[in-house]
Amino acid sequence: MVEKKKVYDVVIVGGGPAAISSAIYLARRNLCVLMVYGVLGGQASTTADIENYVGFKFITGEEFTKRLNEHLKEYDISCQKEIVKIVKAKGSLFSVEGEENNYIGKAVIISSGARQRKLGVPGEAEFLNKGVAYCATCDAPLFRNKEVAIIGGGNSALEAAIQLESYSKKIYLVIRGKELKGEAVLINKVKGFDNVEVVPSASIKEIKGSKFVEKIIVEQEGSSKELDVQGVFVEIGYIPNSEIIEIKKNERNEIMISNKNETSIKGVFAAGDVTEIPTKQIIVSAGEGAKAAISAADYLARLK
């Protein structure tokens, strides 16, 4: 049960692996925890296959999210699905302001994650859901027998290619550099697909079509070329969801933290992809969430 006037020991912002890990660690210390989140499981929930989380040889993002939820439900943790707008100090406490309600905590853990970066080219907004997509796991089946372009050459782009391989007729991987970047396992898998063509040293300039996407304009080493595609999957990295709080951030707007997940504000901790940690991985986020929870618990113990 979520009670609005209650002062929680810790309010956790976010619902991904970092947040859930924090919530469980805090609940095990008998602390009163509220988790306010947009998407349960966070980015992990739309990850197709997870093969690098120790203890799981293979698990889908969907199944992994179910397990996170089951684990969460083992404890007395209040959960509220609501987008958080602002987090700020209120006297010696903290106010977490959502779209509808305000919540009060003695401490806060920010694990609001990151969102996908957009291309910022003409046609991107116009053809959203009309060929332009940001989630291959969600939308790949709709591109059956179609030609698609994936923009980006990192792990997320490779995973998108793996998702689309069995559906799409042709997949162009439009990458800025000369070579694919990412885990060797993924690169080798993608290189083995007959229907994948890497377009190196290239950047997308425009998305064109009438009712749906019909082609993209790509600039490759100074010359412009057209690729006939009906789908464009954008996988060019992430932007931290850090706008909700005024706090010390790095040049990429990631929240700066100590090795104990403390931020520049006493009583505010941060964990996962919203922070400056260089490794954005599910297992790292879960570990960071645990660390932040222990630091928050220690902080609360000292307040008493």
């Binding site: 998407v39 929930s45 739309t46 197709a48 889908t60 993002g61 969907e62 959203l128 859901n129 009309k130 060929g131 997509a133 989630c135 796991t137 969600c138 939308d139 790949a140 089946p141 709709l142 591109f143 059956r144 009712k211 749906f212």
Partner: protein
């Protein structure tokens, strides 16, 4: 008479899961068409909605693109 609810989804999209949870919590029966396994349903959805995003919800003959909770609630009244 209970509304006839039909929803086009994929198993991993958040808004699809939210929409299905919403109907389940209200105790409403609905027909789920998983476009990841049902190719015909996928083509039908794109044709009817003129776009490729899931979910697409039909309440009786009214179409809702995406999980617009307010609109869904209004149509269920």
């Amino acid at each position: 008479m209970a509304a006839k609810i039909k929803i086009y989804t994929t198993p991993t999209c958040h808004h699809c899961i939210d929409a299905k949870t919403f109907f389940k919590e209200k105790g409403l029966d609905f027909e789920n068409l998983d476009v990841s396994s049902d190719e015909k349903a996928g083509a039908e959805m794109v044709e009817k909605s003129g776009q490729m995003g899931v979910p697409v919800i039909f309440i009786n003959d009214e179409m809702i693109i995406g999980f617009d909770k307010e609109k869904v609630e209004k149509l269920l009244k």
